[in-house]
């Protein structure tokens, strides 16, 4: 498992230069059956990351640019009257794919956002009374621009919860950027790239992650963290049980991808800031807490022996 994972990371890093840890997190999120929210500026490589992930894992890919005049039907699909047969035909929307890149999700109206988020949670689409399952694995990578607020509808906290992780990509390092500027066009590399995984393999790994062992000691530590967010006066609201499950799942995925069939505290520490960052708000101003500060706060929790 570990070797295969490292290989995939290496392949993706050929396209997304110098962002290995983000690649790892994205893969961890995907294999944990979670959805990913990328918050960053335009032009940083969000779309490329989503595309290369899909390609590398051998999954179908769709991109959807969200706008304020978008309707749920634009995502889910529409029924059109066929004059020849005299019946309605359902035309599948872009959501019927495996990796969906939802660009600038905060530009759409809450109604449209909800349609997507519900599909994400349920893994199925109900339209005009008929339920259609989405193909597995189904993975949404949503992006939003943290700086532009004019004409946007920020996702409410409850809906942020649907994303397992939220990551930032950030500017590339100096040497990585030099390679970007000098090197081959990522698009060409992407097109030449062969998938690293076969059909169904992603689901196999997801199943394997479900069976990763979490010991009592690990759960103790996890509970300590949850309890800390609820009792310490840093946070407006503590983490929900759903957030606890998300943490556990992400840690198991991280452990499995790093070649272990059991979790250790380090797994939790690795995924913690990315899983809880968008779920916690400061008690003072109810604003999001910068990551640096968040990590400082969490370092107060001792790892139980």
């Amino acid at each position: 498992m570990n070797e295969q994972f490292e290989y995939i990371v290496k392949q993706i890093s050929r396209v997304v230069l110098g962002k290995e840890s983000q690649v790892r997190l994205a893969l961890t999120c995907l294999f944990a059956r979670g959805h990913l929210l990328i918050e960053d500026l335009p032009g940083i490589g969000k779309t490329t990351l989503a595309k290369v992930l899909a390609k590398c894992l051998g999954l179908q890919f769709q991109r959807l640019q969200f706008t304020s005049d978008m309707l749920p039907g634009d995502i889910l699909g529409v029924s059109i009257f066929d004059q020849k047969t005299g019946a309605f035909h359902f035309h599948r929307g872009p959501i019927f794919t495996q990796v969906l890149l939802a660009d600038e999700i905060n530009r759409a109206t809450p109604k449209t956002q909800s349609a997507l988020l519900e599909a994400m949670e349920e893994g199925q689409v109900t339209f005009e009374g008929k339920t259609r399952s989405l193909e597995q694995p189904f993975f949404v990578i949503a992006t939003q621009n943290p700086l532009e607020y004019a004409g946007t509808f920020p996702l409410p906290e409850s809906q942020m919860d649907r994303f397992l992780m939220r990551i930032e990509i950030g500017y590339p390092g100096r040497s990585a950027e030099k390679r970007i500027l000098q090197g081959q066009d990522p698009q060409t590399i992407l097109e030449e790239m062969a998938p690293c995984m076969e059909n169904g393999e992603v689901c196999d790994i997801q199943k394997k992650i479900d069976s990763v062992h979490t010991s009592d000691a690990f759960v103790d530590y996890l509970q300590k963290i949850l309890h800390f967010t609820r009792s310490a006066n840093h946070f407006h609201v503590g983490l929900s049980p759903r957030a606890g499950l998300a943490l556990s799942r992400a840690a198991r995925s991280w452990a499995c991808l790093h070649g272990r069939d059991y979790t250790i505290p380090e797994d939790l520490q690795q995924v913690l800031p990315w899983v809880v960052g968008h779920r916690l708000r400061s008690a003072e101003d109810r604003m999001e807490i910068p990551r640096k500060q968040l990590m400082d706060v969490f370092s107060e929790i001792p790892v139980p022996l």
Partner: protein, 652 residues
């Protein structure tokens, strides 16, 4: 890769040790196949060469099976099964990614070890099996606990086997003895030389060149003198077409023989695929249920002797009273014509007397006086072979002398027949028994007189008296017997090597007496002594199975208790880890509270590279127990021992 290194060498070694006893029986290509696979595997670990993936392994397995089919085609005997096992065992260590794979490999090794019993049950193999079981068990220990040292693995394996000894003894004593060989398969032996149904010139001298053991004889009293060590096997009394045959029908003798000065002894006979049972001249009775005494004083088994057997015998080497006159008429028959000169000589010998003793005397004197030579390579005898031998070539081995003498006696009117068997034997000083080899094969004559009954006459002794005390080797001129290939080089150590061989032989015999000697009858006798009377072995089998289930149940219960214990006693693991952290803290490497164990190990190793190995091992053990669900007592012990031993000295 490093994961593999912990297990694969131990597993491969176990397989190699298990397969070695089969190496001689297996076709050369399978031996080469195993060597190449294992060699490559070990080299790939050392140098990081690529290992075959699943499709390649499947193809290799198919190739191996095809080779097996080509070699054995439809002869699916035990060899073919062992060949299949060896081929698969060569491939299996490549597939050791999961714990399950590794356990399967260990069980394959055990299976190969037990399959050794299909081939032989000798002492050496049995001894070796104990060794290979030890190695395989050590591999099993390693598979379940890859952190120990190899010495510790062996020690633990030894302990496990030691604990199994009582069970082994109980099973040995109580497990129903089956009639016949293990698994009901005939043991595959080499072609074994021995006497056949007929005696013709050359049939004894061909045996003499073989050094193989025919049987061993352990006497209750002292070993009888050399002139009494005639081991009777077959009686040939029909002369037909120049060779001597055993009569088709010899009646059984109901009552045992009576005599004076009985000699009691035990014979352990090697398989010779004939029915003869050898006994000191003259046997008193049939030794076992599966054999009978015949009226020509020979003993025969009901079935051909195809595996080692032991039997207790009584003989009267001295005087025998109440001899049967059976076969006297047949012992006078000669072909109507041929060998005129011999007949003339015989007539001359019997000219003026009817006294058997006198005629025999004259016959022996003739052989003594006329320059006969005792040799293994006599010239060929054509028409009238007796004439040619007695008057022209005058060179021969014991069968020539016995044959000519019997002919001569018959022609002179004295009933005579030939007895085939062995003469003498080598005394083993270590356990005071005789080893009788094929090279001791001999043939002699019995003559009948109304007064003395059948009397043994050995015409060979008239020619080569040394045959009696010094064996064939001493009686033949030097260079006639081939010397063993290794013998030439070992000449300086000959006496030492000889001692070694004899010592080993004595040990093996002891083992056989103990292991093979424990037959069904003895088992029943033992059980009856214990007050257990079994009507059938089925009842015993049921009881045994029941007993084993009981033992397994108790063991299982104990295991469950052991397995659960670490759960309830979790604290000590953390306590010792804390101790370990404190030790590191004293060395200036305190653990930040929010640091997990793995990060802490890396943190410590980063600052103190000299402690890297130890810190990593301890941390790995801790993580396995605390987070990996490893509840083995062994892991715990090891962890505690390592933490105790851990001494990070302050860096100067």
């Amino acid at each position: 890769m490093s994961e593999q290194r912990k297990y694969v060498p131990a597993l491969t070694l176990a397989l190699i040790v298990a397969v070695i006893p089969h190496a001689l029986q297996l076709p050369l290509w399978i031996v080469a196949w195993c060597s190449v696979m294992w060699g490559y595997l070990l080299a790939s670990l050392r140098f990081g060469w690529p290992r075959p993936n699943r499709p390649v392994r499947v193809v290799l397995a198919l190739i191996g099976i095809a080779g097996l089919l080509a070699t054995y085609s439809t002869r699916l005997g035990p060899e073919a099964y062992i060949g299949l096992l060896a081929i698969m065992a060569a491939l299996k260590p490549f597939e050791s990614a999961t714990h399950r794979d590794r356990m399967i490999t260990v069980f394959i090794a055990y299976f190969i070890i037990i399959s050794s019993l299909l081939q032989t049950e000798t002492f050496a193999i049995t001894l070796y099996m104990f060794f290979s079981v030890l190695v395989t068990t050590a591999a099993l220990v390693r598979v379940n606990n890859p952190y120990g040292r190899y010495r510790a693995d062996l020690k633990r394996a030894g302990m496990i086997l030691g604990q199994a000894v009582p069970l082994m003894i109980i099973l040995f004593l109580l497990f129903p003895r089956m009639q016949g060989s293990l698994f009901g398969m005939r043991q595959t032996g080499r072609a074994i030389s021995g006497f056949s149904e007929q005696l013709s010139p050359g049939s004894v001298s061909s045996l003499v060149k073989s050094d193989e053991v025919a049987f061993r004889a352990l006497f209750k009293g002292p070993i009888p003198p050399a002139d009494q060590l005639y081991w009777r096997g077959v009686v040939f009394s029909r002369l037909k077409n120049g060779s001597w045959h055993r009569p088709k029908r010899v009646p059984k003798r109901g009552e045992p023989l009576q005599g004076q000065d009985p000699v009691d002894y035990t014979i352990s006979i090697e398989p010779h695929h004939n029915r003869w049972i050898f006994a000191l001249d003259v046997p008193a009775r049939a030794p076992t249920k599966w054999s009978s005494l015949y009226r020509d004083f020979t003993v025969q088994s009901r079935r051909a002797i195809s595996r080692k057997r032991r039997y207790e015998m009584r003989s009267y080497p001295g005087d025998i009273s109440g001899r049967s006159a059976w076969g006297v008429d047949a012992a006078l028959k000669l072909p109507a014509e041929g060998n005129p000169r011999t007949r003339k000589l015989a007539a001359h010998m019997g000219r003026d007397t009817g006294n058997v003793a006198q005629i025999v005397e004259r016959g022996l004197k003739y052989l003594e006086k006329n320059g006969f030579v005792y040799t293994l390579s006599p010239p060929l005898l054509d028409n009238n072979p007796m004439d040619t031998f007695l008057f022209e070539s005058r060179q021969g081995y014991c069968e020539h002398y016995a044959s000519a003498f019997a002919y001569l006696m018959r022609a002179a009117g004295v009933p005579a027949r030939i007895v085939g068997g062995y003469l003498g034997g080598e005394r083993n000083p270590f356990a005071d028994y005789l080893i009788i080899r094929q090279s001791d094969a001999h043939a002699w004559v019995e003559v009948w007189s109304a007064k003395a009954g059948w009397t043994r006459v050995d015409p060979t002794l008239a020619v080569a008296p040394a045959r009696l005390d010094r064996g064939a080797q001493g009686a033949l001129s030097p260079g006639e017997l081939p010397e063993g290939g290794a013998g030439k080089y070992l000449a300086p150590f000959q006496s030492f090597v000889k001692q070694l061989q004899l010592g080993w032989d004595a040990l093996s015999l002891q083992w056989e007496a103990w292991f093979h000697g424990y037959s069904r009858e003895e088992q029943q006798a033992l059980l009856e002594k214990l007050g257990i009377y079994w009507q059938s072995w089925k009842g015993m089998f049921t009881a045994l199975v029941f007993g084993m289930i009981l033992v397994a149940g108790i063991t299982g219960l104990y295991g469950v208790v052991q397995f659960r214990r670490p759960h309830t006693r979790k604290a000590p693991v953390a306590k010792y880890y804390e101790k370990f952290c404190k030790k590191l803290a004293r060395a200036g490497l305190a653990r930040p509270a929010d640091m997990g164990p793995k990060d802490y190990a890396a943190f410590a190793a980063d600052r103190r590279p000299d402690l890297r190995e130890e810190v990593k091992t301890i941390t790995d053990l801790y993580i396995r127990m605390r987070y990996g669900g490893d509840t083995h007592l062994e892991t715990r012990k090891q962890f505690i021992a390592r933490v105790r031993r851990f001494k990070p000295k302050q860096k100067s």
